[in-house]
Every structure is written in C-alpha cells, then in structure tokens.
C-alpha cells in the first residue's frame, strides 16, 4: 500500500515537473499557405517537446506594420519570429533578435548546410560576415509561371514562329519574354480575351520594388560601388539600369491586364488562376497552389526562372524569411528548442513535402528533389541567382523611396527612367547621410 502511494506520488511529481517545463510558445509570421503548412509540421514538435505552439499570422499587407511595431515596442507576443529578410539589419542592431552563433555551435547547426544565398539573405548581419540572427526558414524567390497548355497549341506556335522567327517557348531573355507577352495581349483564347503578363505594380508596401528589382538586376543595376560602400552614383542609375527600368515600363504599358496599376502577390495569383494571363511574375511560394488548382493545375502550368538581361546577366529578387528568437521573449530557451528541432534534416524534408520551401542543402540537393514537384527545378535555378534589397536598419525608408520613384515612373508615367533613378539615388543618399554612413 505504502509502495503504491509512493509510486503515485512519484508519478504525480513527474507530471507536475513536466507541466512546469511545458511552455506556451507563440510564433509570428505572415498569414499565407506556408504558415498553414508550418502549423501542421509543428504538431510533431508539440508531441516531442510538450510545449504548446500558438501562431500569430498577419496578412502580408499589414505584416511588416504589425510585426515591426511588436519588435519596436518590445512586445512579448512573439517568442519566435519569421521576419522578412530586410528586417535583419534593424533587428540585429537594435537588439530585437538574439544572436544565434553560440546556440548553433552548441547544437552543431552549421550554416554551410543551408543554401548560401539564404544564409546571407536571411541570417547574416552585417552581410557576408559570420554573425547569425536567424535560421533560414523559408526559401523564396521571384520567378515566373506560364500557361504551358497555351504555349503548346499548334496554331499559336505556328503564328508565333512566323511573327518572331523563333519558337514559342520559355523565354531565355527579357526581350523574348516581352515578345510572348505582346503576342498574347488581347488575344482571344477559348472565347475569352486574355493578356500578356501579370507583373508587380503595388504602391503601398513593397510590390513594385520587388518587381522592378527583379528585372533591374539582370540589366546591370547594382546597389553600390563594390569598392566603395554606399557610393551609388553610376550604379543605381547606370545606363543599363535606366534601360531595365524603361523595359519594365514598356512591359507594363504593353502587356498587362487592364486595371493592373496596384497589384502584388494576391492580384497576380488571381490573374493567373482565372486564366487572364499567359505569364505571371510571382514569388515561388505561389507555385504549389497553381500546381493543384482546378483551372490551371497539373500540366497546364509551367515554371521558369527569371530570364537574362541584354548582356546575358541573370538574377532574381530574393524573397523568403529566416526564423529568429525575439529578444524580448521570456521563453528563449524553449524558442531555441523549436529552432533546434526545425533545423533537423528529417523535419526539413517533411517541411518541403508539406509545401514549405526548405533551405537545407540536404533537402534541395537530394537527387530526387528536382523531380519531386514540377516547380522544384525552377526553384533551384532561381535560388542560384538571387539578390536582395537593402537589409540596412533604414530599409523601410529606402523601400518607400523606391516605391515612390518606380510607381511614379512606371504606372503614373511621370518623367523619365533616368530621372526616376537619379531621384532614387538622391533619396537613398539622403537616408544614408542621416544614418551617418558618409
């Protein structure tokens, strides 16, 4: 009897100790499909750790506003944050994320195990130094989808070849992309008027910048003089960059559906799924959704990485995020245990299967990866050519300037491309001057 009572007491103590260790963790991210996949994935972590995961997902349009407000105010809502790549500089310098180097060393998490571009983009500050503030969580990049079934129509193929002298196929250059867009613009397909391409034009947050940059890089735009940081004259507004911006405007003028003056990710998805456009610029996270869509899914949709600019250069705008531990959190140890669990190759493999883009090389370099989904190879091709926007602490001010100048030129049609880029250099210069960079 006494033994049984003793055992019961031990079990009760064990339970209470377990309950005391269990933590309620809140992970903050954007409200989108990958976030739903993460909820599913995290069930395994809850079962293993005993910690309970809560999720705070905010729509993309207000994601930065809401979450940066949380970080800046030292709020304790989020223990883990999957924040945008541009936030790293500010979050590191202002002590909003905890530095992860010691934690990575202690748990044998090596940054060499992740796609190099995602480490630089999502984890490092200052860039290209081994100072890590996040674990690459979701690899993303701007690429293109196209209507494979339309491209395969014999009558369209013949007409296209007769008109342009080459096959109607995935474009190798931006010039070819524009030809295809022009070819489809206002064309009647199955009794419905269709258009050339859907591209980013949104004014309010970051849309048009992500779109324009996606093209500018391949035309020769550079953020700064490689030998002299923050020296932008002749790089941001180089002759090639001007040509790139002119190209983007010409694509907007000739080949987008009517009323596409303020469109970003959602509008692009809608345009493509509803069968309005032949091609669509969007982040790779949208691809699994197209693949399974009733209207455009399966063989009807193809994917391609950003085509080359006039000089053969090929780059793409980086998207995606890293996962960080919020410095204001009282549960940092538990939050770190989540990152440790998330970094495991088996979990990363499952993450990819559920619709999350893993940045772990063991997953993406697996021989079966490229054929695991119709878009997997394009994802790999795109991730190999990425560039990212400024990740400086003043990134938001820099972004607002580019939004203003790009929208004013491309959509509103004010001034010239040269004036827009000169204005951008002046604004960015003023921002860096205020930051004491000169």
């Amino acid at each position: 009897m006494l033994t049984r009572a003793f055992l019961a007491a031990v079990v009760a103590l064990g339970f209470s100790a377990g309950a005391a260790q269990a933590k309620d963790l809140t992970l903050c991210w954007a409200a989108w499909d990958p976030a739903n996949a993460l909820v599913e994935l995290s069930k395994e972590y809850e079962a293993q750790s005993g910690n309970k995961m809560h999720f705070e997902f905010v729509p993309w349009t207000s994601f930065a506003d809401r979450m940066l407000n949380e970080l800046n105010s030292g709020g304790k809502l989020c223990d883990l944050m999957i924040g945008d790549s541009q936030w790293i500089g500010g979050a590191a310098e202002n002590g909003q994320y905890i530095k992860l180097n010691d934690f990575f060393d202690a748990n044998k998490i090596k940054m060499d195990d992740f796609i190099p571009a995602t480490v630089v983009g999502y984890s490092e500050w200052p860039k290209n130094t081994p100072n890590y503030w996040a674990l690459p969580a979701f690899g993303d990049v701007v690429g293109w989808t196209y209507r494979k079934d339309w491209f395969a129509r014999p009558e369209l193929k013949t007409e296209f070849k007769a008109k342009y002298g080459h096959d109607l196929a995935v474009p190798a250059t931006f010039d070819e992309l524009k030809q295809i867009a022009e070819f489809f613009q206002n064309r009647d397909i199955d009794g419905k008027k269709v258009y050339g391409a859907s591209i980013y034009t949104e004014r309010g947050s970051e849309g048009i910048t992500m779109g324009v940059m996606d093209v500018l890089y391949s035309y020769g735009f550079k953020y700064e003089n490689p030998d002299k940081p923050y020296d932008m004259e002749g790089f941001v507004n180089s002759a090639n960059a001007v040509k790139g911006l002119e190209f983007y405007k010409s694509l907007y003028d000739c080949c987008v559906p009517p009323g596409s003056s303020n469109g970003y990710m959602t509008e692009g998805v809608d345009a493509f799924k509803s069968g309005q456009v032949a091609m669509q610029m969007n982040f790779a996270f949208t691809w699994p959704g197209f693949n399974t869509d009733a209207n455009v899914g399966g063989d009807r949709t193809g994917y391609f990485a950003n085509p080359a600019g006039p000089n053969g250069e090929k780059f793409a705008q980086l998207g995606g995020q890293g996962i960080s531990v919020v410095a204001a959190s009282d549960k940092q140890d538990a939050a770190l245990s989540y990152i440790k669990w998330f970094a495991q190759p088996s979990v990363q493999a499952k993450w990819w299967k559920l619709g999350g883009y893993s940045a772990l090389r063991a997953v993406v370099e697996d021989p079966g990866f490229a054929t695991s989904q119709p878009y997997a190879q394009t994802f790999l091709d795109s991730m190999a050519i990425v560039k990212d926007f400024w990740a400086e602490p003043s990134y938001a001010t820099l972004l607002q300037s580019s939004q203003k100048w790009f929208h004013d030129y491309v959509v509103a049609g004010n001034g010239t491309a040269k004036q827009a880029l000169d204005g951008l250099v002046a604004d960015w210069h003023a921002t860096f001057e205020e930051d004491g960079k000169y």
């Binding site: 930065a64 506003d65 940066l68 407000n69 970080l71 800046n72 105010s73 500010g90 310098e93 202002n94 002590g95 008027k193 949104e202 004014r203 309010g204 559906p257 009517p258 009323g259 596409s260 003056s261 303020n262 309005q276 602490p393 003043s394 938001a396 001010t397 607002q400 203003k404 929208h407 004013d408 959509v411 509103a412 049609g413 004010n414």
Partner: protein
C-alpha cells in the same frame, strides 16, 4: 426637484455619508466631479501633445532605442516645409477636401430639401440614402475597388453605357488624372447622407409659421428659399462643413484601400504620408514635427471657421 423628493433623498442617505459630506462646499463638490475629467484630458490630450512637440525637436526614432537622441531644433520643421513631396501631399489633400465638401454640401442639401417635402415613402428613401454611411470605410474601399475594375467593374460598364467608351480602355484608379476623382467620388457617395441628415435637422427646425407668414405676404417659393430656408439652415450647413472638413483632413483607410496613395503619389494624402513616416520609416521626431504642423493648420483653420459659424448663429 420637489421638496418632498429632496427630503426623501436626504432621509435615504446613510447617516455616515451624510455626516461626511456635510460642510463640503459646492465648489469642492464641483472640483471632485471635474478633477477626474481634467486628469483624463491631461493624460490623453495635453500630455501627448506636449510630448509630441518635444519629440519634434529631436532626431528620435522608435526603432532605434540604442541611438542617442539629439536635439535638432527646428530642423525637422525646415525639412518638411522645404520638401516638395510634402507640398504635393498637401495639394492632394486640399483637392480631396475642397471637392468632397463642395459636392457633399450641394448634393446633401438638395437631398435634404427634397426629403423634407411630405411624400409617400419618405422614410424609406431616407433609410436607403443613409445606408452607405453605415458601412465601414475599409469595406467601402474594397467594394469600390471592384466597381472600378476595368474588366469586371460595373462603374466602367456604366460609363460605356452612357458614352460608348470601351470599359477596358481606362482604369479609374490607375490613371493619374482620374485617380484623385475616384476618391472624391467614393467619399461623396459614402458621406453625403451624413450632410443630408444634418441639413434635414436644420430644415425641420424652421418653424412652419414663418413660411405661413411668407405665404400671406405672397412671397414666391424661390424668395422663401433664399430669404428663409437657406439663411436659417446655414448654421447647420456650416456645421456639416466643419465635421466633414475635419474628418476628411484625416482621411486614411478609404484611400489606402482604394489606391494605396497612387498612382505615383497623386492620392497620397497627408494622413497616409504621416503614417508612413511614423510607422513604416519610424522617423518619430520627423513625424512628430509633421503632426504638429498639421495640428496647427487644422486648429487654425477650425478656429477661424468656428468664429464665423458663431457669427452666423448669432445673426
């Protein structure tokens, strides 16, 4: 209050409490009641205002708590007032403000004048007209974004119906010259009923005897309108202008939803610009200076206007 009731209240007051408040002057009791309100006013209005003015003289940024806060004098004010973008934003706001007020007052007063007449279904029409102002501005913005869509929007098809122009050939919210008018149009659709209700209250406050006297004097309807209706409803009209002016100076959600401030910066109203400075760029000191400038502008204009309103009322 009757003596009987006073006696009942006095007898119902517990002796302890009665003893406690005996000997307290009316002035003290008044202060006891007013003090919490004054504290609340100081806490939520006056203190933030003083703090904002203080911040406006510094380079403080909310997102850089580790950076030293430096006193920069009136540098923020100088930067704002010499920035062409600020003036463009003020110009966009003025365009929006003037046209919405003109249209809403004219249409609102006309509707009130018509509704004020006795006819069958009067109440039903009033209810139908006020429906738009019961909706959330964000919902209205979203709703009109669809209406303005060149491919599926009813607005463009309506234009096609009356003018024959191809609906896909123009975009109301994507065109530089049309976009400022799109926000004027939506705001007018939404808030004209509000002006109408105020005008209706004004019209219904005019005693019928005045019209009867005018009828006896054989004054024409036109003369009755100019000499009785309009002057007597004028204070109400001016009140509506004041309300709509203040509301539209801080217009935000509707325009963000409709145009996001674009195309370019054609609909970037000062409230949107200020929000971006304060909560996207996190230039707190700069944004505080911006807010102070806007506050002084609105406060100054409203003060002049209220003075004029009082003059009209006292006439």
């Amino acid at each position: 209050m009757s003596d009987h009731l006073v006696q009942r209240v006095a007898s119902a007051t517990p002796p302890k409490l009665a003893r406690r408040i005996r000997g307290v002057s009316d002035r003290t009791i008044a202060w006891l009641f007013v003090t919490p309100t004054i504290f609340l006013l100081l806490a939520v209005n006056i203190f933030p205002l003083i703090w904002t003015i203080r911040l406006s003289l510094t380079n403080f940024r909310t997102n850089r708590p580790n950076n030293p806060v430096e006193f920069v004098g009136f540098d923020n004010y100088r930067k704002i007032l010499t920035n062409p973008d600020t003036w463009a934003s003020l110009q966009a706001t003025a365009h929006f403000l003037i046209w919405t007020i003109v249209l809403q007052v004219v249409i609102g007063f006309t509707l009130a004048y018509l509704i004020n007449k006795k006819f069958r279904g009067n109440d039903l029409w009033t209810t139908l007209i006020v429906l738009p102002m019961m909706l959330s501005p964000a919902v209205v913005g979203n709703f009109w974004t669809f209406l303005y869509q060149p491919q599926i929007g009813l607005f463009n098809y309506f234009i096609e119906f009356i003018s024959g122009v191809d609906p896909a050939s123009f975009s109301m919210i994507g065109d530089v010259s049309l976009a400022p008018w799109t926000i004027v149009l939506v705001d007018t659709w939404m808030w004209t009923p509000f002006v109408m209700l105020i005008c209706l209250a004004g019209l219904r406050s005019i005693p019928p005897s005045i019209y009867e006297a005018a009828e006896c004097d054989r004054a024409s309807k036109w003369r009755q309108f100019w000499t009785i209706t309009l002057p007597m409803a004028l204070p109400f009209l001016m009140l509506a202008v004041l309300f709509r002016g203040i509301e539209n100076f801080k217009m935000f959600d509707l325009v963000v939803q409709l145009t996001g401030g674009g195309p370019g910066a054609t609909t970037l109203l000062t409230s949107i610009d200020l929000k971006r400075e304060a909560f996207e760029k996190w230039r707190t000191g700069f944004a505080s200076a911006y807010a102070v400038i806007l506050f002084v502008t609105v406060f100054g204009l409203a003060s002049i206007y209220v003075k004029a309103l009082n003059k009209v009322k006292d006439r």
